[in-house]
Each structure stands twice: as C-alpha cells, then as structure tokens.
Subunit: 383 residues, 2 copies
C-alpha cells in the first residue's frame, strides 16, 4: 500500500538540520569545456561526522529538487524535507549513526552556482554562457565539497532519477571513496523516448519569447509559460498510465481554470497546469535546460572504451532499484544496467519496487522504498 | 517483417482518384452547441457505387491526415495517398468492387469547414469562435455527405486513431447503415496519459504569441513554434519506446540543426524537430486544437446511460485492432473495448498487430495490417 507522503512527512519528527549552508569549492573546469572561476555549492547536513570520518551518506536530489532532503515544514519549505520519511533517527538513513549530506547540484538554482548565478568576470548572470554541465561534473563538484568537509569515505551514496545517475557515476568516478551506492530509477544512459520528452520541454522554454535567448534576468519577464509546459511534459514521464487512470481517470477538473478551456477540463489537465505554474514560480528556466540536458547526455561509458570498462571500475556494493511502472527509466533497463555492472565484475544487485506511481515512486512509496533499499543498508559492515 | 511504406506506395500503381471534390452539406448544429450556417466537406472517391448503392467503404483519416487516402505521388501529395498499400484494385480495400470514399473531417483544414474557414456571417475566419466539434459531429457530417452521394449502406467503415474513434461512433450512431466497422488503435475513451500529451501540445500552441488568441489569420504570423512542439509531443505518443531504441537509439543527429543545441543533438531530437516544422508548414494550428480536443472528449457512452447501452446499439460486425506497442490507445484497452462491445451483445472481435512501431503501426506495418484486418473483410456477405 502506498502511504500518503505528505501525511507521513508532516507527522514524523524530522532530524535536526544544519540549515542551508554555502561552500565555495573554488574554480571549476567542466569536462566538456568552458570555465567557472568560482563555484559555490549549497548544502545541508544532518547528524555528525565520526572520528574515522567514514560514516558519511550523500543524498542526491532529483531534477527540480534541492538540498533540503529532511527537515520540518517551514516558511521556505512548507512541505518539509523531500525525503523525510526515510531520513532521521532510526529511519532507513539513520542520522544517529550517519553524517548525512545533501547538496544542490552544480548548474542548479537553489543556492549552488548555475546559469542564474552572477559571472564574476562580467558581473552579470551567466545565462546561456554557462558551460554545459555533465553528471560527472556534478559528482566532481560534490567530491570537492566532501573533501573540504573532511569526509574520508562515503558509507553510502543514494538518489533517484538524475540523482540515481549521479549515484552511479559516483561509484564509477571515485571507486575507492564509496562503500555502497544505491541508484534508484536510473540507468547508464537515458533512452530516446526520455530524451524526446526532455527536448519537448526545452523547446517550449526556448520558444517562449520571455526566454530572450536566456538573457531574461532583470528584465522583469521570465519564460514561465515555457517552463510550465516543460514541467507538464516532465510530470507525464514521472507517472504511469495505470497510475494516472487510478488517480485522475477522465474526471472533470474541480479547481479554477488557469488556462483557456476547450470544452471543459479534465482533472489531469488541471493537475498539470498547477504543477507547471508551481515550478515556474520556484525554478530557473535556464537551470531546467542545463540539468535536463545533463540527464540526456549522461552515458556511463563516456571516456571509457565500453560500458563494461566503466562498470569494472566500481568497488562499491551497488543496489540498482527499478520501479515496475517507470517509463522514463524503465525497470527492464535498470535491471539490465545492474546485470551489466555485475558481469563487469562489480558486486551489483537489482531490486524492483512494484508500484503504479511510475518514476516518481521513489518520492512517494515510502514503505516500498524501505523494503527495497533497507536490507542493502543493513548488510554487514562495508565501511 | 515491416515493409517500407514509402517504397511500396511509390511502386504500386494507385487506383484512379476522383481528385479532391467539395460538397456543401448545408447548415450544421454541433452537438455541444453553436451553429455553422454552411458546412463544406472535401472528399475523394475511388471505384464506382453499384446499383444497390451498398458497396461503399468509408475510410476515416487520422489527426493530421486528409481525404487523399490513395493516389499516385503528385505535386500536392508528394508521398502519394497515405493508405495506398491497402487501397486499390485487388488490395485489401478493393476499388474494383467498392466505392471508396474518404472525406476531410469537420473541423479540419484540408478542404472541409474548420476554424480557418470564413464565417459567412462575419466574412472573417472563425478562429476560436468555431464551435467545439465532437467525434459524433464528424460522423454526422460524413453521413450527410454519404446521403447526398446516394450511398444507401456502408459495406465497411475503417480508420485508425481519431479515425478509429469515428469508426466506432459510426457503428453506434448509425447502426442500420453500417455492415462492418473496423476501428484500429482506438477505444471508447482516451486515457489520462493521452489527454495529458494532447494538452501539452495545445498549451504550446496557445502559449505561442503568434497564436494571438487564435486570430492569427491574415496577420502574417502563425504559431509555428507552438504547433511544432505540439507535433513533437504527438509524435512521441505515436511511437513506442522499443521502436525509438531501434530506430534512433542515442545516435547523434546528422541533419543540420533547426534549433539551438545544448551540447549536440540526438537523431531523435532532429527527427522531432523536422516533423514539427513539417506539420507547421501544412496544418492549421486552430484545427489542431479542435481535433485533438475532440479525441480527448470522445466518450462512446456520451448521451447514453452507460457504455453498454451505447455498444448494444451496434448492428455491424466489428473488428477492433490493437497494436501491441501502442501507448496512446494501449492494446489492452482496445481489447477491453471489444470485450465490452461483445458483452453488450454486438458481434465484436479483437485482433492485435504485433509491432514495435507503436500507435503509428497502422500507417506503416502494411503486411501486419492486411493480416489483421484482411480476413474480416473477406468474411461472407454481411450486407
């Protein structure tokens, strides 16, 4: 049974957070070119680093997520931390035993350096002059943050979707730094249908005249319509057909219309409109372009002769979690990724969450997530 | 094996066409309100109506299709008729034995009255003052055309997608006029995921400033970007994930870029961009809004107490064809529709096309289409 995440998140006491912190990791050279003279990462921590400095857990957020993985509802985060039900004292990711860190990704817009940040060389926001960022860049930036925080090893890195891609890349890029890696709903390379949906969203943003070639900062106009449409396309990939039938069916909308109607609205349309507006109110459109593109172009084999060579680098125990109804990263492809990693010699396992909630199940199906990932975290001492 | 439709269409001699004709069916009252003082339908015919006037076959086109179901390539139709491989002398739909008719739907933009047509009461194009059109309206308009052409009975009505919805509605709305109905890749009601994809496209059109609340006619600006994005969203629903892996995978684009790149392009993106531009060059954006909306709101049970009551009206032999990899009208839902119709007392059968081509298989997999539907057309004399 799927629990109501909102209810659980609201009623369970959240672990004490450091609050949002900012750390300068210095200049950064993205792997595909360009140069960032100064990079800051926003992050939060829960729990304490032990004396061996090896009890750290890195949580990696999803596309439009942020560093606030856990925390009580507050003015800035009215729904609380986005992974509250699995992070805290005695929870799946135990903040009594672990030093838990979550940082906003490089290229993001929730405190870390991204396209909306001021370019120190020009004094103006980067906009589209921001260099292309890859999943590997995000991981390398996180590594520098962890080094600066004095973390010696990661007991665990875990995340879903683009967070799962980074989790996998962590195990490949820094093999001797990671004990356990648990990519959820992610593979070594996104398929063409996912890329298509992603590109529909980017085209909508770039076709919005308020986008202004990405130079909208300070103009008083932002490409809200385009970003809202991108979000709508994203939301469709995060949910399954069966889940949409269950949740919305063909019921008429009850909320007031946000957009012109053509013969009434369906509830699913109203839902998408509100999701679109919500994201447009809190997210930077250029960040959306860069982060969604990083998801598309990620290929675990990039820079290696083959996927096998990449996977053979992994020293961590890895658990790949697929979601039965996911069509962005289909379960069969996640399973195949685990199998490829195993064949390449790594200790890789696969587990599947049975859910109608589609890709988003890792942000909703708490009991199933605990059941899938929990045993992996309790397995012996890999540290 | 899937044949190359282009090759087959190019090399087989097409049946002789009447050429595009136009017929005024007079004033029309759409079922959901509004009034059209004068409706014209564009249509083409192949073969001859027999003396009993009961050898007519109605072909119903898909969303962005037109009346040119069969015909050699020509200036106006450089790829020839869109269903050439199954229409002609000795083909599945035999023009030696049948009087074959295909008309552009009401609300369309290829010769029939639609939003781009001049409102005789104002002398200006309807734009968004065009009344909402339903699948039933399209069928009722076609019926008046057939009556005027002297057709007494339809030996067969057949079409895919929105054409399949109309085919089903024909059997329900005019039970004693139809001998056989063969809806392909269609159900009694589109699911919420299909509606979502449809709405993403409409939002993109309506967010395009060139749309101008639909009053773009004569302004020299048309919402090409919005319509292209709508087409991209449509194309994703017409193809399957497996088919996209086969056809595009993650290969880089080879064609010149139509839009700004973010770190190169994938072939699937390039394909979608070209499909988008192609449609924007030949289709009216307001028509796209109205026709896609008709697909969404179609419910076979509308006006009846239940789907059973609607299905129980059917007198025709019906063959529902599902496509294994279709996610717009999933095969399981098509099968269920056939089952519901059968339980309601109609002579309904189901057959499935095994294909990776997704929803679009009915416009590509000629051998499979013939195998699925051919035997149904050869079954005895149902007239």
């Amino acid at each position: 049974m799927t629990l109501d995440p909102g209810a659980e998140a609201r009623h369970a006491p959240a672990p004490e957070t450091s609050g949002k912190l900012h750390h300068r990791i210095g200049p950064f050279e993205p792997e595909l070119g360009g140069y960032l003279p100064e990079v800051t990462l926003a992050y939060e921590t829960w729990g304490e680093l032990n004396s061996a400095r090896d009890n750290a857990v890195l949580i990696v957020h999803a596309l439009t997520g942020d560093s606030h993985a856990a925390g009580d509802p507050s003015a800035g985060y009215k729904r609380g931390g986005w992974w509250n039900p699995v992070i805290g004292p005695g929870r799946m990711i135990d903040t009594e035993e672990n030093f838990v860190i979550c940082s906003n990704v490089l290229g993001g817009c929730s405190g870390s350096t991204g396209p909306a940040s001021k370019n120190p060389q020009t004094g103006r926001p980067y906009g589209m002059s921001f260099p292309l960022i890859t999943i590997r860049d995000m991981v390398r930036a996180q590594k520098r943050l962890l080094d600066d925080l004095g973390v010696k090893r990661l007991s665990l890195v875990i995340g879903g979707s683009i967070g799962g891609q980074q989790t996998l890349e962590w195990a490949v890029e820094f093999p001797d730094f990671v004990d356990r890696a648990a990519p959820v709903a992610a593979t070594g390379a996104l398929g063409p249908q996912g890329i298509s949906m992603s590109e529909i969203g980017r085209r909508a943003i770039m076709a919005d005249p308020h986008w202004q070639e990405g130079e909208y900062y300070g103009t008083g106009r932002t490409p809200d319509d385009g970003l809202a449409i991108a979000r709508m396309a994203g939301m469709v990939t995060y949910q399954s057909a069966a889940g949409q039938w269950e949740r919305f069916g063909r019921r008429p909308a009850r909320r007031p219309a946000l957009h012109r109607e053509l013969g009434g609205r369906f509830e699913v349309e109203s839902y998408l409109h509100y999701q679109g507006r919500e994201l447009a109110g809190r997210f930077d459109a250029n960040s959306y372009l860069y982060l969604s593109r990083a998801m598309d172009i990620y290929d675990v084999a990039a820079g290696y002769d083959s996927p096998e060579e990449a996977y053979s680098r992994i020293q961590a125990d890895t658990l790949f979690t697929g979601i039965s109804s996911d069509w962005l990263f289909p379960a069969a492809e996640v399973r195949e990724t685990a199998e490829e990693a195993r064949i390449a010699g790594s200790n890789a396992r696969y587990v599947e969450i049975e859910s109608n909630n589609g890709h988003d199940a890792f942000l909703k199906d708490w009991a199933e997530l605990r059941e899938a990932v929990g045993p992996f975290l309790e397995d012996g001492d890999n540290g």
